[in-house]
């Protein structure tokens, strides 16, 4: 068996890369190997949101373009990912954070046309009467952000990729990446060698281990995050709301268009790849925090809980492309630090250009893996949840 390109990982990142590669070069033989079913990891376990408001210029630029591609996905693939652009609302309780938002807005967001709206507490209360905001300093509203059906994005890529004779293998974990001298030779699957000229690692939380096997250490730490959904009620929480009170433990809450209220807190902090289980610690902490912020949720019932991964990189920004010191033909797209779903479309678009033509777009340059070696880290700290 011989392929031009093998993609390790059938999540939204791997499939987006596969989709754009096929689109650019339909005759190319491309296979995706997925250890479980497509979307098994963070792709199906995320909060299904997109946003453009990051704290570093490279991420803002990347996210704006990714958002644009995401919103045109419907007409491009026939799968409308049913977007609802309801915005993000940050509730800010201390002066220092407030000033950071002010300066980021002035220096970065406005520059790219995604300036935010600052509201004083009375405006917030008037506009969102269901919130109990306590000693709020300000609300910050990002209009461009919103929700999108994450599964449909994954399926759209997979469906279109397969339509063009792309191959997706589910339940076929890649055991090893084969390196011959200074070149990638292929992968080993179920004890068999599958040859390929190029191999892309897009295995989410499992990328670190795969790369480590061939002697490359990426500065990544997976973190398990828990989420829950309440029974549906009429749609009243339009934006995604982030409560920045210290004791809210990174609470965010939103409502899906079908009425289910979804949210999370950053507790308990669990690092590493663990089973996707849930804890009472999470449930009770979340319940306390969310009923304080929105008291009308008190009597609503928890319908289901689940957990997923953030694959957190040292500078909270993803790693894409390759380092010239690596074996030839080896690429990565990983370490999205909780933003993988929203960054997937532009990742696929840029990676396909890079893999096929060796073309490094300027938007992707800051995210190349050699930044760790050269000490050019991205100054990104905005990770939600």
């Amino acid at each position: 068996m011989k392929y031009d390109i093998i993609i390790v990982g059938g999540g939204v990142i791997g499939l987006s890369i596969a989709y754009y590669l096929k689109k650019e070069s339909p005759s190319m033989k491309i296979a995706v190997y997925e250890a479980k079913y497509i979307g098994y990891g963070a792709s199906t376990r995320n909060g299904s949101h997109i946003r453009v408001h990051f704290w570093s210029e490279p991420n803002v630029v990347f996210a704006i373009k990714s958002r644009k591609l995401m919103l045109s996905l419907g007409s491009e693939t026939g799968w409308n990912p049913i977007p609802y652009i309801g915005g993000y609302l940050w509730l800010i309780y201390d002066e220092e954070t407030y000033q950071t938002y002010r300066s980021t807005d002035k220096d970065i967001w406005k520059k790219y046309g995604v300036g935010v709206e600052f509201m004083d507490p009375s405006e917030v209360v008037e506009k969102y009467p269901y919130l109990n905001v306590g000693r709020l300093i300000a609300g910050v509203f990002g209009r461009e952000d919103g929700k999108i059906h994450h599964d449909f994005v994954t399926y759209a890529y997979a469906h279109k990729f397969m339509e063009k004779k792309g191959i997706i293998n589910e339940y076929t974990p890649v055991q090893k990446i084969l390196i011959d001298g200074n070149r990638v030779k292929g992968v080993i699957v179920s004890g068999k060698t599958i040859e390929a000229r190029k191999v892309v690692i897009a295995a989410g939380a499992w990328s670190k281990r795969i790369m480590k096997d061939i002697g490359i250490d990426l500065p990544l730490t997976p973190a398990r995050k828990e989420l829950s959904v309440l029974e549906p009620v009429k749609f009243f929480i339009k934006p995604l709301i982030i409560d920045m009170r210290e004791d809210s433990r990174g609470l965010y809450v939103c409502q899906t268009p079908r009425g289910e209220v979804m949210g999370s807190v950053d507790y308990p902090e669990i690092r590493g790849t663990y089973e996707f289980n849930n804890t009472l610690k999470y449930l009770s902490t979340y319940a306390k925090a969310v009923t304080r912020l929105i008291p009308s949720l008190r009597k609503l019932r928890v319908l289901r809980v689940w957990s997923g991964d953030y694959n957190i990189s040292i500078d909270h920004s993803h790693i894409m492309g390759r380092d010239e010191e690596w074996p030839e033909g080896l690429y990565v797209a990983t370490g999205y630090s909780g933003h993988g779903f929203m960054m997937a479309p532009y990742t696929g678009y840029l990676m396909s250009k890079y893999i096929l033509n060796d073309y490094i777009h300027r938007d992707m340059e800051p995210f190349l893996p050699n930044r760790f070696r050269e000490g050019k880290l991205i100054k990104e700290v905005m990770v939600i949840g």
Binding site: G74, N80, Y84, L280, L283, V290, K299, R304
Partner: protein, 578 residues
């Protein structure tokens, strides 16, 4: 009944739907609330008919919405669009076709609240930090399920310790099969009274919520309190599971387990089941038949082999018709099957008019609780319930002290249950209380006894074992001539009642997109993401997928039924102390 009179049950939506001629494959009896958007596309007898076939359920949709729909029509949208719009509401929100159209989607998002048949939450709640009190259980043994099996194990355990708590989901008295009959069997009543005299605590209206990583909790739903459990050993005795298997053109006659039949008739007061067939051979039929005869239901009992002597005596005494050594059951192939053809190897041929078929064998235990553990394991138990036979000790985790009672009162004769319970209880005592040299039963002997004494049971297990491997399901059906799938208008058959996923949605997912893994069906259609979390609908979906794709059950797989078993209020969780 020891002073505890059961409260009359209100009739759940499922029964109403059945009576309106809407057939549901997954029956979520426990939760009485409709969730699906399909309530808007209604074809029940009380419907409001708009032009172009747009029907509305007057019970759920208000006048405002109807006006809104009329307004859309005035906008000049074609009736075809409205039809497809109605259609699109089918699989939750997530059916693809109509929402491919951006204009429709943006219109829809603007009108979202009109289309969601849910209320607003109580907006008058004020912020406060007083939460419902938490109940703490600290005992040596916790038994989940207060049916015959749970009671009997408690009885055995109580010989060693009184530190036993039983959680029962019913609001009053015992649970399980006995609670469906007209009066508890005498043995159960005696047992119940005995346990109460011994001071063993039964907490009613309490649902075990499943296995979190850091705690075991249950939920007392009548008072909306969290129960936090600290026990040395947990014994799951949550009984049998009603699976309505897919027969050829599975719309009618209604086919379900005897437990479901009793629930419908005796608990929920469903009145349209007047005559039918019970596939017998396993449990004690007498109490169930007593109950059904009293309701005036006309029954024929059929047996795959010979009827047990006990059954024969009872049937003869009451003049109930029965057929032994049945080889084949066929249904007529018209849309609404009313006739059942039964052939026995003795040459008997029966041509019956029926409203239902109920079966006693082939159940799987403990669906809701065990469903929280490990999907593969649950699939085993769901498809055959043969684990207790393979593993009579009931031990499901070597290191966790959680045991599974594989004995279901609805399907086993009482003396079998007693024997099982004794075997299990002694084993559990020896393990959980670290008793060394404790006299435990020899499981191999018990296994052989079942094999020789309960041939039907053993056969059913073997059959299900084979079915699990070979992707055949029920041998009672004539699988030689493969059944055709429902090709006509299957729009009125629900598979997932919570998320309104229809039979045809699953067929479509496979035919149009080649999806046949359960994980993908779940994400694409929304199946099993509602209250039941797949506990009710997954098996049927798996059978449908198996029939259309030919894939084995193991390949189709199942998704994880997520915590909790019963939806639980946020405030009850907010009050939990760590």
């Amino acid at each position: 009944m020891d002073g505890d009179e059961p409260e009359p049950q209100s009739r759940p939506l499922s029964v109403k739907l059945l009576e309106d001629g809407i057939y549901i494959l997954s029956k979520s009896f426990k939760f009485k609330r409709p969730r699906g958007v399909r309530n808007l596309a209604w074809w029940g007898s009380e419907r409001i008919e708009l032009k172009n076939g747009y029907n509305i359920n007057p019970n759920i949709v208000d006048e405002k919405l109807i006006n809104e729909i009329v307004k859309i029509k005035k906008l000049g949208l074609s009736s075809k669009l409205i039809w497809s719009f109605r259609d699109s509401l089918g699989a939750g929100f997530y059916h693809k076709k109509i929402f491919r159209n951006k204009l429709v989607w943006s219109l829809f998002t603007k009108m979202i609240n009109k289309f969601l048949p849910y209320p607003y939450p109580d907006m008058s709640q004020s912020p406060n930090t007083t939460y419902p009190l938490q109940i703490n259980i600290d005992s040596k043994f916790l038994i989940i399920g207060g049916g015959i099996s749970g009671l009997k194990i408690a009885d055995e355990l109580s010989k060693e310790t009184r530190s036993i708590v039983i959680l029962e989901g019913e609001k009053y008295g015992v649970g399980g099969y006995a609670s469906l009959l007209n009066g508890w069997p005498k043995k159960i009543q005696t047992l119940y009274n005995k346990l109460r005299r011994k001071g063993i605590k039964v907490i009613n209206a309490a649902v075990f919520q499943g296995f979190l990583e850091d705690a075991y909790i249950a939920y007392k739903y009548d008072t909306e309190q969290t129960i936090k459990i600290d026990a040395d050993a947990i014994i799951i005795a949550t009984g049998g599971y009603e699976i309505p298997p897919l027969f050829e053109n599975n719309d009618l006659p209604f086919i379900f387990s005897l437990t479901t039949l009793l629930k419908l008739i005796n608990k929920y007061g469903y009145t349209r089941l007047r005559k039918g067939v019970i596939i017998g051979g396993m449990g004690d039929l007498d109490k169930a038949l007593d109950t059904l005869i009293e309701k005036g239901v006309n029954i024929t009992v059929i047996y795959r082999n010979q009827a047990p002597q006990k059954d024969r005596e009872y049937l003869d005494k009451h003049g109930i018709n029965y057929v032994e050594e049945v080889e084949k059951i066929r249904t007529s192939d018209t849309l609404r099957v009313k006739k059942l053809l039964i052939h026995s190897s003795r040459g008997e041929k029966l041509n019956l008019d029926v409203d239902f078929v109920a079966y006693t064998p082939i159940v799987s235990p403990d669906k809701e609780v065990v469903a929280q553990l490990n999907p593969k394991y649950v699939f085993d138990t769901r498809l055959g319930g043969y684990i207790p036979l393979h593993n009579l000790s009931g031990e499901i985790f070597r290191d966790k002290n959680i045991y599974l009672s594989g004995i279901s009162g609805g399907y086993f004769p009482i003396d079998t249950i007693e024997k099982y319970a004794a075997i299990q209880a002694r084993y559990i005592i020896s393990k959980a209380l670290n008793y060394e040299n404790y006299d435990i039963y020899d499981f191999a002997d018990a296994f052989n006894e079942i094999k020789s004494r309960y041939k039907e049971l053993y056969q059913a297990y073997v059959m299900m074992d084979a079915a699990y491997q070979d992707s055949k399901v029920y041998e009672y059906i004539d699988w030689e001539n493969p059944p055709t799938l429902f090709e006509g208008d299957a729009s009125s058959i629900f598979v997932c009642h919570d998320m309104d996923v229809l039979y045809k949605d699953i067929v479509r997912s496979y035919k149009e997109l080649g999806m046949w893994r359960m994980e993908h069906i779940k994400r694409y259609t929304g199946l099993g993401t509602g209250v039941c979390q797949g506990r009710d609908c997954q098996l049927n979906a798996a059978i449908i997928l198996n029939r259309i794709s030919g894939k084995k059950f193991l390949e189709i797989g199942i998704f994880r039924s997520r915590y909790p078993v019963m939806p639980q209020t946020l405030e009850s969780l907010a009050g939990v102390e760590e």
